[in-house]
Symmetry: D3
Subunit: 137 residues, 6 copies
């Protein structure tokens, strides 16, 4: 059977700040600039979930994009949307809430739950001008 | 001389929540849903500044879009970008930080400072799926 | 109170063809070109619903964009999405399924149901390269 | 009959510079900055042509968007696309090649040729971050 | 010589439905949901054609993007645009008209016709929110 | 440590033409069509700079996207923006100013200057409808 990659675009909004508590206040200000400001800022995160696999002869699908959306809603959107990544999401208690790490969090929440095919990329836009691709590993 | 409208697109990121302290917690939860969550969320706000006026025979311009960008940077971006609208911007101490009111704030900061032509619209996207137009008055 | 316009972007997918049964086959082919082909084609319709009104001091809203989405889902999306405009929607039995008329249909379904403010524009993209604005009347 | 506005999006690429020969070199450098550099720069101009009129009961159209595209191709694209506005287009010999004036040129080329309805706006993006609206007059 | 990938974006509109005649009506409704509705729906399909190869010292090109557009127009657009994939395109008589399979069809129509370099990916958006990548094999 | 790819989107405007002085005027006209017209045309070039590397435990970053922007501004934007590629940029004196070669120029200017991780792709849009990916080599 032929193989293809299916991509579903989803989104969520959240607040965050970048701050490494193991470093000094001055290091944080210099390293992160306005992203270190104390009262948080936020983003409209846009996400692409990429799943590669065999095209089923029965359905013509690698995976139903509606299923990808439902998995994202339950395991990512419910935890991050309209929340503060630093204050509300325990996973970020010990990790910086950078775009790189948010992509890694989404991967960890979804990779083992894809019902057919396998997750090959989480593409995460923090703004329309910068994004991250995480491919596992 | 002919007249035209010039539009400059700019942007900023901020955190906010919707909460009316004159109302009960339950009213706020019901009215604002996840936008009322206590620890803030955020957006990539995209803005269009629209200035209408006569096309100058000397410059071919209604107004230099670089000037619009500089006014926005000084009088809006410096106050809102990477900030928390509720905690960091005194103007919102007595107003809800809704998209409608953020557009009104931008108008108040810029309308009297446009050097040629006059501001006719602030168009403000809170997300790629919803925006507000404020035209004064 | 200040007044503003709030816009919510929504979407649906549908099949249609352009065919005027009061005219000859040749007139239809000449007038509508490939849009007249007999077995239908289709579009991802993108819609902007524009509501103008007073900004409420209690909510900071002209109207809750979530309410606009819910009204669209019930009174437009449920009837048009994944349907054939010509075969499945009685309103089009006596009208051409042009973008102009689809915008008019959406207006008729929603204008009297807006709970605060009033509908001022239905903007309807048939493709990323052409759209229609209907403002009533 | 109901009335609506139909919009067709088209595009062209061109080189230009901003230079007012009635002024000094220093005035030009100060006023136009890098837009005054001598060897030209260029843009992917995106255009929206807006035509308002009655929706025909026969066709469901205000105007066929294919006709708008054909008029643009013949009377604008053929003259501007892949050309240098300053050197190749006589209309700009006595006018600055600003976005405002390019919109005015497009209006003059098309307004009297619209076969049904009337041209209400030429919206012209010079870049994804700035555009002009010209509505005649 | 250096190597690069050139991408041309093109588009077409079509109607389709998802229905597997080897399965029961109930299986089809459960599996495909509204995509199985009997009278078809449709999409604005957006396509990216990716061709990898050596950059020619004579032309600076891997391949002329105008050639890619002409090949697409003749071998894909002429067959699919403004058509019903299920009823009008024999290739889909024995295959589900899923995005995965439409991408595969485009690949089969074009891969052997690329005059320099080779086709490495057909990227096909069914809506702005979901797309498929097919890379052969 | 996990690895990821960070992408920063930037842009510049420039004029150019395609002309190979080693070939006849007729060959140039036939090969490049309107891109060969003598007085130049231009584009809004959009660029994505992709940097792959280890996610730092200290910063959560592969590389600071602000650093990527600053490197681009100094080593690419300052040389190309609002310039004529053929007349103003010595690198193109002996190379065709095709999108492929502009991507290669950007790579040469930036690849050795990335402070952490390494440049894996320069993605360069000449128009919204065509782009090139250069990955070195």
């Amino acid at each position: 059977m032929p193989r293809a990659t299916v991509v579903r675009r989803v989104h969520f909004n959240a607040a965050h700040r970048l701050h490494n508590p193991a470093q000094t206040a001055e290091w944080n200000r210099t390293t992160f600039g306005p992203c270190n400001l104390p009262n948080y800022h936020g983003h409209n995160y846009e996400v692409e979930l990429c799943v590669e696999g065999e095209v089923s002869a029965d359905t013509g699908y690698v995976v139903d994009v509606g299923t990808l959306k439902a998995l994202f809603d339950e395991h990512v959107h419910a935890l991050l949307d309209h929340h503060n990544l630093n204050l509300d999401v325990p996973w970020f208690a010990t990790r910086l809430a950078s775009t790189e790490n948010v992509a890694l969090f989404i991967w960890e929440q979804l990779a083992s739950r894809i019902p057919s095919g396998h997750l090959t990329c989480v593409r995460l836009w923090e703004t329309p001008r910068n994004y991250v691709e995480y491919r596992g590993g």
